[in-house]
């Protein structure tokens, strides 16, 4: 069988159609999110609604950039193994523009999180950085830079696949056609794609690191304006990778069985994804440990309150250990053995556990600080300390909404673009190993 025939077969087998049931479900989820948010705004609980939106935007926006990073890492390292799932990872990036829109919406709710927006409360020596116009400017600029780089990268990566698919099976739709304007010779286009992606990938990677750092510092760390940690940006970037890898485990598990890609996303390839998820969780734990140890040992008044509130207070202390179980103990021991990480259903459970973990981690980094700010401002704190972990319908509804949006974007993308990078020579190689 020639490569073209094989690719044709793969393409027909893996053509993905978003079923009506799932599509409607996702639309309902998004509607729940929107309704939840609006109800929150009008019912006097606007703080809770904004808070939930912040948590989920940071989480799912981060995961979408992390998905793109997976593809970037494959390109930079010239790795073969990840090729069959490259497109699945890239599909997550389709949520990034929507995360951008959510961030723009969040600009209007800044006063619910940031104590420093109040001129009387901002720490004087930080007023230069913590000024709202500057905050908006730098976030918008860096986000746009990331989006532009990411778009050109993604376009170059997708283009020869769409072109080849069109040639082989009359593949085409309005969205995909946009990628193949002025399409030339297939060989030429493939080389061009390799050239552009290789050249852009390191810059997308750098932009990812900078953007993650900025979002972590600005949108999470500055809620508690006194506290700082140089590691915070790295922690967020790695958490994004963890989230993206967990999503990828779920996506590739389904792609294997539903899209008949068992020969391509083989057990070994699936094992590789699980292993990467395993190591990313271990890396995250290392980052947490290195922060906590340094802060605990240094015992400086500007650093410890943040950690004491999160580790030793009765309101929040238990959440810290819960997160450690979700993001370290369970994935570490769960994915350690080959059998368990090869097993799609088992590692899927762990992937879901990881996603719950990263959600809770964002919640845990954001909410205690907001509660503390409210308490300092004289409202929100009961006599017995902070409210602690209090679940409410807004968290629930808005999480479902943003999750629905994320999945909708990714699946919508996969429906319109070939699910496997058929034109990628390395993809063809890996399937024959």
């Amino acid at each position: 069988m020639t490569r073209n025939d094989e690719m044709k077969e793969v393409l027909t087998n893996s053509a993905f159609q978003l079923g009506n049931g799932i599509r409607n479900l996702l639309i309902v989820l998004m509607a729940i999110g929107v309704i939840g948010f609006i109800v929150g705004l009008v019912s006097g609980h606007s703080g809770l609604a904004w808070r939930a939106l912040l948590i989920n935007t940071i989480l799912f926006g981060g995961i979408s950039t992390g998905g793109l990073m997976f593809s970037v890492i494959m390109t930079v390292t010239e790795a073969n193994w990840g090729r069959p799932i490259k497109r699945l990872a890239e599909s997550m990036a389709s949520f990034t523009p929507f995360a951008g829109i959510l961030f723009i919406i969040l600009f209007f709710g800044g006063h619910h999180f940031f104590e420093w927006m109040d001129h009387d409360k901002v720490i004087h020596s930080k007023a230069g950085w913590l000024s709202y116009p500057f905050f908006v400017e730098r976030n918008v600029i860096l986000f746009i830079i990331f989006m532009i780089l990411g778009w050109f990268y993604l376009k170059a990566s997708v283009r020869p696949d769409v072109g080849l698919a069109k040639r082989l099976t009359q593949f085409g739709n309005n969205f995909a056609n946009r990628f193949i304007k002025n399409y030339g010779d297939q060989e030429e286009e493939e080389l061009q794609s390799i050239r552009i992606t290789r050249r852009l990938a390191p810059f997308v990677g750098i932009a990812f690191a900078l953007l993650s750092t900025l979002i972590a510092f600005d949108w999470m760390m500055s809620i508690d304006q006194e506290w700082f940690s140089t590691m915070f940006g790295v922690q967020y970037a790695i958490a994004n990778m963890i989230g993206a890898l967990a999503m990828l485990m779920i996506f590739s598990g389904f792609a294997r069985s539903r899209l008949r890609l068992e020969d391509y996303i083989s057990v070994n390839r699936y094992h590789d994804v699980s292993k990467l998820g395993f190591s990313a969780c271990a890396l995250w734990t290392y980052l947490i440990f290195s922060q906590v140890l340094v802060i605990w040992y240094g015992n400086l008044p500007e650093e410890t309150p943040y950690v004491i509130l999160r580790m030793q207070s009765h309101e929040w202390g238990w959440v810290f250990w819960l997160i450690m179980v979700l993001l370290f103990i369970i994935p570490f021991f769960g994915l350690m053995s080959r059998t368990s990480s090869n097993s799609v259903w088992f590692s899927r459970i762990i992937a879901i556990d990881i996603l719950v973990g990263v959600w809770l981690e964002k919640y845990f980094l954001i909410v205690p600080s907001i509660q503390e700010n409210l308490a300092a401002a004289g409202h929100g704190a009961a006599e017995h300390g902070l409210p602690g972990f209090e679940y409410n319908l807004y968290d629930f509804a808005i999480t479902l909404g943003v999750l629905g949006g994320f999945l909708f974007c990714a699946l919508w993308f996969l429906q319109r673009i070939p699910v496997v990078p058929i034109s990628d020579k390395r993809f063809f190689q890996v399937s024959h190993h």
């Binding site: 590691m231 290392y286 400086l300």
Partner: protein, 440 residues
């Protein structure tokens, strides 16, 4: 793959074990003189006291601690290349990993000397270790310096064991090629009776994989703990959370640079190696340098940003002092070497140009030494109270000892390339098509 075969690998590698020529002896002579300088200086310091090192009050840590961290950093690349790159199946590791593992072992051996030199009364070094004693005097387990003792000795044991494990099949092939009976005897002891049966290979590969998995966390832990020697204190410029991964990235940065510094001359010294250590492999190292260089630059920038953002007076003062104070030349030279000098590696032509790679690798080594010097000395020179500010003045003793440490390191390496196969014979063969009887 062209003309590399099982036989040619055997011959090329075993050729490197032939009795040394003139160049080797002359180089060893230079190396031993450097070592002699170091030994002389250390003796002088022991006789005349620590005033002959540049350390003073309050700069209690100077060149020796800088050297210590520098050599530990060099010792990172070996395990990274042999264990981490093994686990991620990076193809460019095969030809260079043996020599870099050896480099690791020797670098850690060099690093281990410096705390002993630094403590002054070197003969009391065993006070660093916990041992039952009559007066029940115990070391301070809460001190990061003690964690360092454990971290470094664990790292050293594991990297030596890993090194030896990787050597076993190759020592067996050296043994098979030996003519003299005495040599044969020693190599057969060293290769623990390895005969290359399926059974032995199976166990060997299992063991190697397990070892690689054990060694990988050590790559992170050692330099993290070294970084905590600094980060645990509350000194401005030292106490910051990013130190651990930042030191690890810096260590890999300098380690990979040292791999290039060593492998490039090795390629020239043994002509047969040129075909085996391909330019692509060196390019892989160059890419590692480029990436870790960017990570290190990121860490520098974040440190400066947080020093500003923290609003802490002392942090801000220190991060003003580093680029603009009396020690600014060290700082800017470091920035040039670590952040700028590796940037030409973005260009493939430079990445594959051997002299350029060699030159950049030297610059990176210098830069990473300066980085440690900047961290150790500037923070101590400029801490909280202007009354306690001070300046560092280099003394000849510490410079000679530093030179001597290079002599010590290269002495081991020179001996190594003559008595052990410096390329991994067995793994190189794995990458080839096995010779078939039919084709002969």
């Amino acid at each position: 793959m062209s003309n590399i075969t099982y036989t040619s690998i055997n011959e090329d590698v075993l050729h490197s074990l032939k009795p040394p020529g003139k160049t080797w002896w002359i180089s060893l002579g230079i190396i031993l003189s450097a070592l002699g300088l170091g030994i002389f200086a250390w003796t002088y310091q022991i006789m005349h006291g620590m005033e002959w090192s540049g350390i003073n009050h309050p700069i209690g840590w100077g060149v020796y601690i800088t050297d210590f961290v520098f050599w530990i950093g060099i010792g990172h690349a070996g395990t990274l290349i042999s264990a981490v790159l093994f686990l991620v199946r990076a193809p460019f590791r095969t030809s260079i990993y043996r020599a870099s593992e050896a480099m690791t072992v020797f670098a850690v051996m060099t690093a281990g000397l410096f705390p002993i030199i630094h403590i002054g009364r070197a003969w009391n070094f065993y006070w660093l270790l916990p041992y039952p004693n009559q007066r029940q005097l115990w070391i301070n387990f809460k001190s990061p310096l003690l964690w360092d003792v454990f971290a470094v000795s664990t790292y050293m044991s594991v990297s030596i064991a890993f090194f030896i494990l990787g050597l076993i099949p190759d020592l067996a092939s050296v043994r098979d090629g030996c003519k003299s009976k005495l040599k044969r005897f020693f190599y057969s002891i060293a290769s623990v009776g390895f005969r290359g049966t399926n059974h032995q290979w199976l166990h060997y590969m299992r063991g190697y994989l397990l070892f690689a998995a054990i060694a990988t966390p050590l790559v992170f832990s050692v330099h993290s703990i070294v970084s905590w020697d600094f980060a645990m204190s509350s000194i401005p410029g030292w106490h910051t959370t990013i130190f651990a991964p930042y030191f690890v990235a810096g260590a890999i940065f300098s380690g990979c640079a040292m791999v290039l510094t060593i492998m490039i001359p090795l390629r020239v010294a043994f002509p047969g190696f040129k075909e085996i250590i391909k330019v692509r492999d060196l390019e892989g190292m160059a890419e590692m340098i480029l990436m870790t260089g960017i990570l290190v630059t990121y860490a520098y920038s974040i440190e400066f940003f947080i020093a500003y953002y923290s609003g802490a007076k002392f942090e801000r003062a220190l991060f003003w002092f580093r680029p603009f104070g009396e020690l600014r030349y060290f700082f800017w030279l470091m920035v040039f070497c670590n952040c700028v000098s590796a940037l030409p590696l973005w260009i493939k032509k430079i990445r594959t140009n051997i002299p350029a790679l060699f030159f950049i690798s030297i610059l990176v080594n210098v830069g990473m030494w300066l980085e440690r010097f900047n961290i150790v000395v500037t923070s101590l020179a400029h801490d909280f109270d202007p009354f306690a500010w001070s300046m560092y003045k280099f003394e000849w003793v510490e410079i000679w000892i530093t030179v001597g440490s290079f002599g010590w390191f290269f002495m081991w390496f020179f001996i190594f390339v003559k008595i052990m196969p410096s390329l991994a014979v067995a793994e190189l063969k794995e990458a080839l098509h096995p010779p078939l009887r039919r084709s002969q």
